[in-house]
C-alpha cells in the first residue's frame, strides 16, 4: 500500500528529560522518525521538553515545540498546528501515556487527530496489565499466575493465590518503576502501596514469581497488510528478576533450539495481532523455564523501546525509521533495506557475530541506596559490543563501560575470601559478572554457580573458558614458534592489551608492540543485516581478530569524531547532540566523517549520520587501532565529554593529529596546578586552593585556606565525591572517605565560596576571537553542581558590570589558551568579585540548551572552527542574543534510590534536563517546573511545609509571607517556625508525632522546602525529605529555588502560551 495522501501534518511526541528507564534511545527513534516522515513530504510537528536532544534541533522538524509534555500544552500545539495524525509510538512510555490521556480527554476526536501506529485500544490492551493478561489467556498464551489490585487489601487477597515470593508490577509505568519482589507480608504491604502510587491509573499486577527463569525479548514489526517479522531476538544473561534494562543481554538468543525459538516467534506474532498494533515495532518479553522449556509471556510494549534501539544497532535494521514509514501506509516490502539497497525490509536480519549489551550503573553517587538489582531499573546507561566470539563481545563491552575494568577480570576480586565471594554471587549486582568470573578462576564448578546465580550454564561455560585462557596466559607472554597463535587466541577471546600487560608485568604499550611484532592485528567486518548473503552499501564496522578485513580506508579528507560512550550521570545525550552536529556540519563542508562510539541508544551510532561508523569501545587500544587503519587527517576529541578528552594526550603522543584546541591547552585546564597559574597570569580571581595526600596535610591546608572548604578528589567527573566542609570535626568525619576516592591522586582542598551566585558561560573561539554563546545564571547558589542546578538564560537579575566581567574573563581565557572550538567556564560571583571555578576546553552539557535558546548552532560552528574555519568567515562575530527567556531544570533520579537523602550538592546526580521557554522569566520557570512534573500553581495553592537551614530563615520569612499572600497554607517545623514568628510571620506548627515525617508521608503537603545540608541536617530533615520523595511530593532543597517558585506563581498569568522554536526565531528576526 502506498503512502497515505490524506495526511499532511503529523504530530510527534518526544519522551522528555532523560530519566532512568527512558534515555536517549528515544531521541534516536524520534530523530529517525522526523527524518523519515519529512523525506516522505509530511509536515512534522514535534513536542518535547528536552533541549539536549537532536530531534529538537530546529533542523529536525518543521515546527519544534520545546514545551512541557502535558495534556494542556499538547492541546495548544494541536490547536495551533492542526495535525491530522499523532504518532505516539516513538517517544517511549511518556509519549504513549500522553497520547492516551489526550485521547481519553476527547481532545483528539474533537480536533480530528488520528492516532497512527497504535490506536487507543491497542495501547490499553498492551499497557493495562489486567486487560493484557485477560487477552493472553483468551488466546491461550501462558502468563504467570496472578491477579490485579487497586487497593492494598485487594492485593493481599491475590497473594493468597500466588504465595511468596511475589512480584508487584504497576500498570503504565516505565523501567519497572514502583515494582519489585516481596518475600514477606510486611515487605509486600510497603511494595504494594508504593506500586499503587507509582501507577498513573492506580493499578498493580500481583503475580507469581518466576525469578530464575531465562528471560528473552523479541523485537517484532508489523505492517498494514499484516506482514510480521522478528528483527532480533535477545537473551538475558541475568535471569528473570533483574529488569532487562539492568541485565547483561546478548543477541541473537543462544540457548533455545530452533524448534523452541520458532514457537516463541509464533507466540510473538499471536500477541502483536491480538493486541492489535497495526503498524510498527513492538517488544515482547518472555520467561522460559530452564527445566521444561515452558514459555510465558511477561509483557509487550506496543512501541519502539530501549531494546528496539539495541536491536537496530545489533542488526543494522533501522526499526524506528521503518516504523514511521509503516505508520503512514507503506508495507514492509515497499521499503528498501538501505544496507543492501537491493532487498526489501520485509525480511528477518541474519547476523554473523555476537552482540553483548552491558548496563552502566552509578550507585556510587547514591550512598545508602540498595545496590541489589531487581525488577525496577536502576542503570543510567548502556554500552554495546560486537564480536565474533562471546568472549570478544563481552570483554569489549566491559571495557566500553569505562568503569575501570579492562575486561571480565577484576583484580580487586582476588582479595575476597571464598565465603564472602559465595555470598556475593548470589545477589544480582553491578559487579556480579566479575564475581562469577573470579569464582570460575578459583575453579568453582559451573553447576554450583548455576544454582547460586540462575545464570544459564551456556554463559557460565563461556566465561569459564575465558578464565582458563587467562590462567594459561598468566604463564607468561607467548614466545617461540606458537607465539603468534597464542597471542591471536587471546585477542580473539577479547583480552585487552592492558589486561595482558597486567598478567605479564608489562605496559599496555609493550604488549601492543609485541602483538604487532607477531602481526596479530585486528581487522574490521561489516554489520550488514544478512550475514554476508548480499553486498552491503552501508559502512558500519566492528573489529575482530578473524583474518578477513572488509574496511578499505576511507578516501579523501577525513575527520574522526570520538563519541561519549555509555550514558552516565554527568555525561549523556548533550554530548551525543554535539557529536552529531559536528558530523553533519563537517560532512556539509565536504569532509568525510568517521564516527567512533559504543552507545547503542544514540543518534551518533546511527549508520547514516556519518560516512563511516566504527562501533567500538572508546579505550586507547581500540581507538588507536582504528586510527592506525584509517589514518584520519584529524581526530575530534572535544565533543564527547570527558571520555574522548582523556584520550587527547595519549593520542597526541602517538602522533595522532588532534583538531581544535591543542592537547596542551586542554591539559592546562585539566591540570589543577597549570590551571591556577593560567588564571593568575590572566589576573582572574580564583578560590584559594591546596592539595593533600594525607590527613595531616588536609588538616593544615584546610586551616590555612579557612573554612568552609570544599574537598574534591582530582580526576573525577560530575563532581564525584565532592563535599563541603564547614569546620575541623566535619573534616575528620569526611577525610577517610575522600582520601579513599581520590586514591593515588591528591585530594584537592578549595576555599568554598559561600553565598556566591554561580554562572556558566558557553563560548566559541578560533584563536583570534571569542564569541560568548550564552551566560547562564544559576538559581541555586554555588555549591550545587552546575548540572543539578536550575538556571536562567539570559541571567535574571545580574549586575551589568558582573556580566561584562564574565564575558571579559571568558575572552581572556579563550584567547590565552587559545581555544579553537567550544569552551565552557564556570564562575562563582560574590558581590562584584568574579571567581573562575573551572574551564572545560570542550563542548559542555549546556551547548544544546544555549544553541537552541540563542538560535545559533554553536556545535556546528565549533566543529568548523576546529578544522580551520574562522568565525569571521562563518559570520559569527557578535555575541548572540537569546530568542526568549529560557530556564533549564534538572530531572533527578532520587525516586529510584529509596533511602537516599534527596538533597542537592556539589556532586551531580541528575540524569536529564528540561527547558522552559517563554517571553518572561517567571513563565519560563513555571514551564521548566512543569517539565519535571511540578505544577507550581497547584503546589503553592496547597499546603507548604518549611523546614529551613539556619542561614535560610531570613529569606524564609519573606518567602513564607509571600506564600501566605498567594493563599497557601504554610506549616513549619519547630525551629523554623520560631524563626519565622520572631520575624512576625505566623505559620502553623507541624503536628508533633513519633515520626516527624508522618504528615508528609500521609500526603498532607503539596510542597516541601527543606534546605538543611551537611552536618546541619538533623535526622528529622532527612526523614522529611525522604518522606516527600516516597510520597511523590515536590521537594525544593535550595532556598533560592523556593524564592523563584514563589515569584513565578505571583507574577505569571494563569495559562501558559506555547510557541515553536521556528516561530521564536521568526519573532526575533523582525
Amino acid at each position: 500500500m502506498p503512502r497515505r495522501e490524506d495526511l499532511e501534518t503529523i504530530l510527534l511526541i518526544g519522551s522528555g528529560p532523560i530519566v532512568i528507564g527512558q534515555a536517549c534511545e528515544f531521541d534516536y527513534s524520534g530523530t529517525q522518525a522526523c527524518r523519515a516522515l519529512r523525506d516522505e513530504g509530511y509536515r512534522v510537528v514535534l513536542i518535547n521538553s528536552n533541549p539536549a536532544t537532536i530531534m529538537t534541533d530546529p533542523s529536525s522538524a518543521d515546527e519544534t515545540y520545546l514545551e512541557p509534555l502535558t495534556v494542556e500544552s499538547c492541546r495548544r500545539v494541536i490547536e495551533i498546528e492542526r495535525p491530522q495524525a499523532l504518532l505516539p509510538t516513538l517517544g517511549g512510555q511518556t509519549a504513549l501515556n500522553l497520547a492516551r490521556d489526550l485521547a481519553l480527554a476527547g481532545i483528539l476526536d474533537e480536533m480530528g487527530v488520528e492516532l497512527i501506529g497504535a490506536n487507543l485500544e491497542a495501547i490499553e490492551r498492551a499497557e493495562d496489565r489486567e486487560r493484557f493478561q485477560a487477552l493472553m489467556l483468551e488466546q491461550e498464551i501462558g502468563v504467570p499466575r496472578g491477579g490485579f489490585a487497586r487497593t492494598v487489601e485487594e492485593a493481599v487477597n491475590v497473594v493468597a493465590i500466588t504465595g511468596y515470593p511475589v512480584i508487584v508490577r504497576p500498570a503504565y509505568t516505565l523501567g519497572g518503576a514502583g515494582g519489585g519482589v516481596a518475600t514477606s507480608e510486611e515487605e509486600f504491604l510497603d511494595l504494594a502501596a508504593g506500586g499503587l502510587r507509582a501507577s498513573p491509573i492506580g493499578e498493580i499486577l500481583v503475580e507469581e514469581s518466576v525469578i530464575g527463569w531465562k528471560e528473552f525479548e523479541l523485537e517484532v514489526m508489523r505492517d498494514r497488510a499484516d506482514n510480521c517479522v522478528v528483527v532480533c531476538s535477545i537473551e538475558n544473561l541475568d535471569p528473570m528478576g533483574v529488569h532487562t534494562g539492568d541485565s547483561i543481554t546478548v543477541a541473537p538468543q543462544q540457548t533455545l533450539s530452533d524448534r523452541e525459538y520458532q514457537t516463541m516467534r509464533d507466540t510473538a506474532f499471536k500477541v502483536i495481532r491480538a493486541v492489535g498494533v497495526e503498524t510498527g515495532g513492538s517488544n515482547i518479553q518472555f520467561a522460559v523455564d530452564p527445566n521444561t522449556g515452558r514459555q510465558l509471556v511477561i509483557e509487550m510494549n506496543p512501541r519502539v523501546s530501549r531494546s528496539s534501539a539495541l536491536a537496530s544497532k545489533a542488526t543494522g535494521f533501522p526499526i524506528a525509521k521503518i516504523a514511521a514509514r509503516l505508520a503512514v501506509g507503506y508495507t514492509l516490502d515497499e521499503i528498501p533495506n538501505d544496507i543492501t539497497g537491493v532487498t526489501p525490509a520485509s525480511f528477518e536480519p541474519s547476523i554473523d557475530y555476537v552482540v553483548a549489551k552491558l548496563p552502566r550503573f552509578d550507585f556510587v553517587k547514591f550512598p545508602g541506596a540498595n545496590r541489589r538489582l531487581t525488577t525496577a531499573m536502576k542503570s543510567v546507561g548502556e554500552t554495546m559490543a560486537i564480536g565474533r566470539t562471546f568472549g570478544e563481545a563481552i570483554q569489549k563491552g566491559l571495557r566500553g563501560l569505562e568503569t575501570g575494568a579492562d575486561g571480565a577480570f577484576d583484580p580487586a576480586m582476588a582479595a575476597l575470601a571464598d565465603d564472602a565471594l559465595a555470598e556475593r554471587v548470589e545477589t544480582p549486582s553491578a559487579e556480579r559478572l566479575f564475581e562469577v568470573v573470579e569464582a570460575l578462576r578459583r575453579g568453582w564448578p559451573v553447576d554450583r554457580l548455576r544454582v547460586a546465580t540462575g545464570i544459564d550454564p551456556w554463559f557460565l561455560y563461556q566465561l569459564e573458558r575465558l578464565a582458563q585462557a587467562e590462567a594459561e596466559a598468566s604463564a607468561g607472554a607467548p614466545s617461540g614458534a606458537t607465539a603468534a597463535d597464542a597471542m591471536r587466541s587471546l585477542k580473539v577471546a577479547g583480552f585487552s592489551d592492558s589486561h595482558l600487560g597486567r598478567l605479564w608485568g608489562r605496559t599496555e604499550a609493550d604488549v601492543r608492540a609485541l602483538r604487532e611484532s607477531l602481526t596479530v592485528e585486528r581487522g574490521f567486518k561489516v554489520v550488514d543485516t544478512c550475514a554476508g548473503e548480499f553486498e552491503a552499501r552501508t559502512p558500519y564496522f566492528y573489529s575482530s581478530y578473524d583474518p578477513g578485513n572488509e574496511a578499505r580506508p576511507l578516501a579523501g579528507p577525513k575527520i574522526m569524531i570520538l563519541g561519549g560512550g555509555p550514558n552516565r550521570i554527568g555525561q549523556g545525550i548533550e554530548f551525543d547532540y554535539c557529536c552529531v552536529q559536528a558530523a553533519l556540519a563537517l560532512r556539509h563542508a565536504g569532509h568525510r566523517v568517521i564516527m567512533v562510539n559504543c552507545n547503542p541508544e544514540t543518534v551518533s551510532t546511527d549508520y547514516d549520520v556519518s560516512d563511516r561508523l566504527y562501533f567500538e569501545p572508546l579505550t586507547i587500544e581500540d581507538v588507536e587501532a582504528i586510527v592506525a587503519h584509517e589514518k584520519p587527517d584529524g581526530v575530534l576529541v572535544q565533543y564527547g565529554g570527558q571520555t574522548p578528552l582523556k584520550l587527547a594526550i595519549p593520542l597526541h603522543r602517538g602522533g595522532v593529529p588532534i583538531v581544535g584546541t591543542a592537547p596542551d591547552a586542554i591539559d592546562r585546564c585539566e591540570d589543577r596546578d597549570r590551571f591556577s597559574s593560567l588564571l593568575a597570569s590572566l589576573e582572574i580571581p580564583q578560590a584559594r586552593a591546596g592539595f593533600a595526600r594525607t590527613a595531616a596535610e588536609a588538616r593544615s591546608e584546610a586551616s590555612r585556606i579557612g573554612y568552609p572548604v570544599l574537598l574534591r578528589p582530582s580526576y573525577v567527573l560530575g563532581g564525584r565525591g565532592m563535599i563541603v566542609i564547614r569546620d575541623a570535626d566535619e573534616l575528620e568525619h569526611a577525610l577517610e572517605e575522600s582520601l579513599r576516592i581520590s586514591g593515588a591522586h591528591p585530594l584537592l582542598v578549595d576555599e568554598f565560596l559561600e553565598n556566591a551566585v554561580e554562572y556558566d558561560v558557553d563560548a566559541i573561539g578560533d584563536g583570534e576571537r571569542v564569541v560568548i554563546g550564552g551566560i547562564m545564571q544559576h538559581v541555586e547558589g554555588a555549591g550545587i553542581h552546575s548540572g543539578d542546578s536550575t538556571c536562567w538564560l539570559p541571567p535574571r537579575d545580574a549586575d551589568p558590570d558582573v556580566l561584562a566581567t564574565l564575558a571579559d574573563y571568558t575572552r581572556r581565557i579563550g584567547l590565552a589558551l587559545p581555544v579553537r572550538g567550544l569552551m565552557n567556564v564556570q564562575y562563582a560571583v560574590r558581590g562584584r568579585v568574579v571567581y573562575a571555578l573551572e574551564v572545560n576546553p570542550r563542548a559542555s552539557r549546556t551547548v544544546p540548551f544555549v544553541s537552541k535558546t540563542v538560535g545559533v548552532p554553536l556545535a556546528r560552528l565549533g566543529a568548523l572552527v576546529m578544522v580551520g574555519g574562522r568565525l569571521d568567515d562563518l559570520g559569527l562575530t557578535e555575541d548572540p542574543v537569546p530568542l526568549a527567556v529560557a530556564v533549564k531544570a534538572p530531572a533527578l533520579p532520587f525516586a529510584k534510590f529509596p533511602g537516599v537523602d534527596p538533597i542537592l550538592g556539589p556532586e551531580m546526580r541528575s540524569t536529564g534536563e528540561v527547558i522552559g521557554l517563554a517571553a518572561d522569566p517567571d513563565e519560563a520557570f513555571r514551564k521548566a517546573m512543569l517539565g519535571v512534573g511540578v505544577d507550581l500553581r497547584e503546589a503553592l495553592a496547597g499546603d507548604v511545609l518549611l523546614c529551613l537551614a539556619e542561614e535560610d530563615r531570613e529569606a524564609g520569612s519573606r518567602i513564607a509571607a509571600a506564600l501566605l499572600k498567594i493563599g497557601a497554607r504554610v506549616t513549619a517545623t519547630a525551629a523554623t517556625r520560631e524563626a519565622l514568628e520572631r520575624r512576625r510571620v505566623s505559620v502553623r506548627a507541624v503536628e508533633r508525632e513519633v515520626d516527624p515525617a508522618g504528615p508528609v508521608r500521609r500526603g498532607d503537603f503539596s510542597l516541601v522546602v527543606s534546605t538543611a545540608r551537611g552536618r546541619e541536617a538533623s535526622e528529622e530533615d532527612v526523614a522529611i525529605r525522604r518522606a516527600a520523595l516516597w510520597a511523590g511530593v515536590p521537594c525544593l532543597t535550595a532556598i533560592e529555588a523556593a524564592d523563584a517558585a514563589v515569584a513565578a506563581v505571583e507574577a505569571a498569568a494563569a495559562g501558559l502560551e506555547v510557541r515553536s522554536l521556528q516561530r521564536w526565531e521568526a519573532r526575533a528576526r523582525c
Binding site: 506482514n227 517479522v229 533455545l256 533450539s257 536480519p349 587466541s489
Partner: protein, 387 residues
C-alpha cells in the same frame, strides 16, 4: 591463503588441524571437529541462526559442504527428535566455532561428539564470514575438508576432482530403499521420496494423512496402485534436470491421473516443472537460510521462509502472464523478494501446486505451513467429488 584463525578455548598446539580448500585455490586451516579424513562436495553457506541439527540432517544437503555463517554452532547440543532424517546428510561441515558445552534442557549429545560418531569431517576456527563473502562473489565452489597433511596445492587439486553438482542425480543416495508407511489418517498420500524431510511427514500426518514413502525410482503404476488421495513430491539433493526417473514418473502421472491433487516442495517443485516441460538453472550460490521473504503474487502476502536450494525454475512471460518457461499451464504464484526468482507455481486448471521453499520449516519460520492445509483441502475436495 588466509592464516590460521586463533581459537581461544583450547590451545592450538597438539590439536588435529583440518584444511578447507576450494577449487579456485582459496584455502584456510582450522581445527578438526568430528571425524578425521577427507571429504569433498559443493561448498555452500547457510545463514540460519539456530537449527544446525535440522540443517545437518536435511537430505537435500547430500553432496554439499555446508558453511554456517553464524559463528557459534552447537549451543544447545543435539536434541532427540529434532532430526530431519536418521543422521547427518552433509558431505562436510564448516564452522567459526563449534560449541563443546551446550546448554538446553533437551540437550543430549554435544555436536562435536555427534559429528565424530557419524563420521562427518568438519572444521572450526575458519573465518566463515570471509569464506561466505568469497562464495557469494565467486558462486558455490567445489571443495574439500581434509585432516590429512596435504599442502595447499594438493588439497586444491582434490577440490577440483570433486564432481560438479550440475548433472548429478543424488536422489538415489537419500531415498528409502523400499516403500514405507508413516502416520495414519483417512487420506492416503503417495510421497515420492527424493530425500524427504521428516518434518514434512510430521506436517502431513498431523493434517490427517497416511504417508506412503516411495523410492525415488517408483513408477507411475506403483503410485497409482496405492489409489492415493494425493501425490506429494519431496525435497531432495542434486540437479533436478538429472533426476530422470522422477521426471518420467511425474510426466506419466500428469497424463494418466491429471486431476490427482499434487503438491511439490523444493526438488519436488523443480521435478514437477520438468515433468511439464519446464526447465531449471543453477543459481550462483543458491538460497540456504531461514529468512527469505516470499510473496504470494495473488494476495500480496509475504511469508518469511526456510530455503535450501541451488537450482531454480526458469520463468517466461506469455501474454504478460508469468509462467514456467516451456510449461504455460503452470502459472507462477510465488516469487522471492530478494532476487525475484520463482518460488512457486500452480497448474491453471488442475489441483497441482508446488513451492521452491520449505513450508515444513525445520529449521526456520512456520509462516508457510498453510500450504499443507491447502493440499489436504484439495484431496478432500477431490474425495467429495468422487463420492
Amino acid at each position: 591463503m588466509s592464516p590460521l584463525c586463533g581459537d581461544f578455548f583450547l590451545p592450538m598446539s597438539g590439536v588435529l588441524r583440518a584444511r578447507l580448500a576450494l577449487e579456485d585455490g582459496w584455502t584456510a586451516i582450522g581445527r578438526s571437529v568430528g571425524a578425521a579424513g577427507t571429504t569433498g562436495g559443493e561448498c555452500v553457506f547457510n545463514t540460519c541462526l539456530s537449527g544446525y541439527q535440522e540443517v545437518l540432517t536435511d537430505p537435500s544437503y547430500a553432496g554439499q559442504i555446508v558453511v554456517m555463517t553464524y559463528p557459534l554452532i552447537g549451543n544447545y547440543g543435539i536434541v532427540e527428535g529434532d532430526g530431519e532424517s536418521d543422521g547427518p546428510q552433509v558431505a562436510g561441515y564448516v564452522m567459526r566455532e563449534c560449541v563443546r558445552n551446550p546448554s538446553n534442557w533437551q540437550a543430549g549429545e554435544t555436536l562435536p561428539d555427534w559429528l565424530a560418531e557419524h563420521g562427518i569431517v568438519a572444521v572450526e576456527g575458519i573465518d566463515t564470514r570471509e569464506l561466505t563473502l568469497h562464495l557469494r562473489n565467486q558462486g558455490a565452489l567445489r571443495g574439500v575438508v581434509t585432516t590429512e597433511a596435504l599442502d595447499a596445492a594438493e588439497a586444491v587439486a582434490r577440490a577440483r576432482a570433486v564432481p560438479p553438482m550440475q548433472g548429478r542425480d543424488l536422489t538415489g543416495e537419500v531415498t528409502v530403499a523400499v516403500s514405507r508407511v508413516e502416520g495414519r489418517g483417512e487420506l492416503t498420500v503417495a510421497a515420492c521420496d527424493f530425500g524427504l524431510k521428516q518434518n514434512i511427514v510430521r506436517e502431513l500426518a498431523d493434517a490427517g494423512c497416511r504417508v506412503v514413502r516411495l523410492p525415488a525410482t517408483a513408477t507411475a503404476d506403483e503410485v497409482l496402485d496405492l489409489r492415493p488421495d494425493g501425490l506429494f513430491c519431496s525435497n531432495g539433493p542434486g540437479d533436478p534436470a538429472a533426476a530422470a526417473a522422477g521426471i518420467e514418473t511425474l510426466r506419466r502421472l500428469s497424463r494418466e491421473a491429471p486431476d490427482l491433487p499434487t503438491f511439490g516442495i523444493c526438488l519436488g517443485h523443480q521435478i514437477l516443472a520438468h515433468a511439464h516441460g519446464g526447465t531449471t538453472y543453477k543459481l550462483k550460490f543458491g538460497h540456504h537460510g531461514g529468512n527469505h521473504p516470499v510473496q504470494d503474487l495473488r494476495t500480496g502476502r509475504i511469508d518469511i521462509t526456510s530455503h535450501n536450494h541451488g537450482f531454480a525454475v526458469r520463468e517466461e512471460r506469455v501474454g504478460g502472464k508469468r509462467v514456467v518457461a516451456g510449461a504455460p499451464e503452470l502459472e507462477i504464484t510465488h516469487v522471492n523478494l530478494y532476487d525475484g526468482t520463482v518460488e512457486g507455481f500452480r497448474h491453471v486448471e488442475r489441483p497441482l501446486f508446488a513451492v521452491q521453499y520449505h513450508p515444513e520449516a525445520a529449521p526456520g519460520p512456520h509462516d508457510a505451513r498453510h500450504h499443507f492445509n491447502a493440499f489436504v483441502d484439495a484431496m478432500r475436495a477431490r474425495r467429495s467429488v468422487d463420492a
